[in-house]
């Protein structure tokens, strides 16, 4: 898909996941046993054949860089094109750009050098399996200036409150963008448009002292632009709080959701070369997702275990998420807990959180 380039803009994404985002950006938060949130949008892009992808980062991106490397796991280690992690450049005294427009202004080379004529712009908080080839096709067929991707949700949830909503008419045109809380059409923070048209709008915004592309160039101009809407019907989750992280993770324990997210088109992530998970003599594991490298001697129920987790004999884990290399010693009990990486829980300790407000334990803690 040489016509499309990808921009993953993490600038607007606040670090909303408490302890999980103390030392990493939201895009680098581990999810579903072996992935990080960024993997989903990145895999959607590479599954559509996009090979020029820029990542705008501003804060706490060390672990993200470590995860992405040169993009090899996504086949983005290219001689020409590939993955560009683009931190901001603050040293240009003539630069009058602000907000997320700074990234575009500071990295115009990426846009001019990449061969695609159109760009897909996305964040990392909306997890989906959107088919970007289809979006591109609809965008081209409709003749719209810009096509926004939205999800009509059946049931509105707390994490949806922060999302913009879209009114879409029968011709698939966006007639309004607003924040009416009871409206089901969630804007997925993804749009597609002509690359040069985009740059033109960016320049115009900068010249007028604006600082936020979507708000100032799209929302403000919605009467002047022909805004198309692409309706996405597949798996969708918004991760913008610890509660939404927990609830959406747990819903992957429903086989239907698991298959919707993973059955077709692989989600790629950094390779770790772990051994298959090992279930010992008295292990009792039910309704859980388990990644490689785990060794389980105890009881695990309704939980997600990331790579390399160890569960000792007699330990009981329920409704919890244990990230990479956590060690739960013998006879410890945890319920409704999210443990960040490398946490060690001593034998016999009991930790219980609330099912709607899980207990979050920061990385590398010893309890």
């Amino acid at each position: 898909m040489k016509e499309l380039i990808g921009v993953i803009n993490l600038d607007d994404e606040l670090d909303q996941l408490n302890e999980l985002t103390y030392f990493r950006c939201g895009a680098a938060v581990p999810f579903a046993g072996r992935y990080r949130l960024i993997d989903f949008v990145l895999s959607n892009m590479t599954n559509a054949g996009i090979v020029d992808i820029a990542l705008f980062v501003r804060r706490k991106y060390r672990s993200l860089m470590d995860h992405l490397g040169e993009g090899k796991s996504w086949d983005l280690d290219r001689n020409h094109g590939g993955l560009f992690i683009l931190p901001p450049d603050w040293n240009d005294p003539t630069d009058i750009s602000q907000g997320d427009l700074q990234h575009v202004h500071n990295n115009l080379d990426f846009f001019y050098r990449s061969s695609g004529s159109h760009m897909i712009h996305s964040g990392s908080r909306h997890i989906s399996k959107v088919n970007l080839r289809e979006v591109y096709k609809q965008h081209m067929d409709s003749g719209a200036d810009i096509t926004l991707i939205y999800k009509p949700v059946a049931e509105l949830r707390p994490e949806h409150e922060a999302c913009l909503r879209m009114d879409v008419d029968e011709q698939g045109r966006v007639t309004d963008i607003h924040k009416e809380l009871d409206h089901p059409n969630l804007y997925m923070e993804m749009f597609i448009m002509d690359k040069y048209k985009y740059l033109e709008l960016v320049k115009d915004c900068i010249a007028h002292g604006k600082n936020h592309f979507f708000q100032d160039a799209i929302q403000e101009n919605r009467d002047r632009l022909k805004i198309g809407a692409y309706k996405y019907n597949g798996y969708h989750a918004v991760i913008n709080s610890v509660e939404s992280y927990f609830a959406n993770s747990m819903e992957l324990l429903c086989r239907e959701n698991y298959e919707d997210l993973f059955r077709e088109n692989p989600i790629r992530t950094k390779i770790k070369y772990e051994v298959p998970a090992k279930y010992l003599e008295n292990a009792d594991v039910k309704n859980s997702l388990v990644a490689n490298g785990c060794t389980i001697a105890g009881q695990v129920e309704n939980s997600i275990l990331f790579r390399g987790v160890q569960v000792g004999k007699g330990a009981r884990i329920s409704n919890s998420i244990l990230m990479q290399k956590c060690v739960i010693e013998e006879n410890a009990v945890i319920e409704n807990v999210i443990m960040d990486k490398d946490v060690r829980l001593s034998g016999g300790v009991t930790l219980v959180g609330d099912s709607r407000k899980p207990f979050v334990i920061a990385k590398s803690s010893q309890i």
């Binding site: 046993g33 070369y273 388990v290 275990l305």
Partner: protein
Amino acid sequence: MKKEVVAMLLAGGQGKRLKGLTKSLAKPAVYFGGTYRIIDFPLSNCTHSGIDTVGVLTQYEPLVLHSYIGVGSDWDLDRRGGGVYVLPPHERENGSSWYQGTADAIYRNMNFIEQFDPEHVLVLSGDHIYKMDYNEMLHFHKEKDSDCTISVIDVTVQEATRFGILNTNDDLSIYEFEEKPSAPKSTLASMGIYLFKWEVLKRFLIEDKKTETSSYDFGKDIIPLLLANNKKLYAYPFSGYWKDVGTIQSLWSANMDLLCEEPELNLNDPSWRIYTKSPNQPAEFIAPDAKLSNCMINEGCVVHGEVNHSILFFGVEVGEGSVIKDSVIHPKVKIGRGVRIYRAIVNESMVIPDGTVIGSEDSVDIVLVHADDFIASPESEREAMKR
């Protein structure tokens, strides 16, 4: 570019005794341990031992093996001035033929070895499961100023009759080599790992080639020839887990060895990871009705039913009410509902219909289930046949 050691990995074997598993697959590409292929072991050993130049000699059914190895990036063997090289037999000016034997395979790739101008050549085979630091063997080899060092492992007297046995003096110098002796004088079995001074090996490969009656084999021809010419041969003792997985029975039991609580072969050692091509699958889904004990399960599996003392490779599905015991299930096998599998190896991508019964709990033999010789018979039909 001058290299101290070049490794030559013999991976052309058919592995006849693995029957259906090697129907369209060379033996080194056979699956092992829930996620690996046999060849991952010598390749990872090379990487961890600091050997960055490996020639892989292929011949039988090379397609899977070649595409699996690729440019060697999974083993960090995509190096400049080295790395992994796949070396199939090829036609030359004076005709074409397959590799005639292990020594012939090396002989015909002398040009490959020469370009690295190595001091030593390490000859490995692609059909054993073990973790070994070849660098330590190299130290021993250099310390003894040996012309040829053969890695040996202590076996029982009964087992000794199945191996090439080395008889040594007290200083571990070899004075005799016996292939599968009926009355073994020692229990030091050759592991099929040879380290030669390249200059010496080259001379004797050329000499062996001139002998028309030779079978061009390291064990049968080259080693006896070196001994006859009073070359310095030493046995390098290895103690650790090492298993020939050449038969269905031994492949099965090597897999089962991984299931004890602290297996002798520790695959979970971060300092000596066994690298393999990642199947890129989601975390496995363990359903509410699953019962798992004493088993290894890889990512991408969806498990209902009961799995006991077994290994499931990636992407295996186990239906409701099924029981899998003492078995090895290769990748992407779909097992229906109410299936019972005992003491079996099920080849990749097989579909096992609902109600099938395979093997029995108390049999000695291991059943191999593969596309050719297995016709799935639902339990009801079996019951009907009994009547």
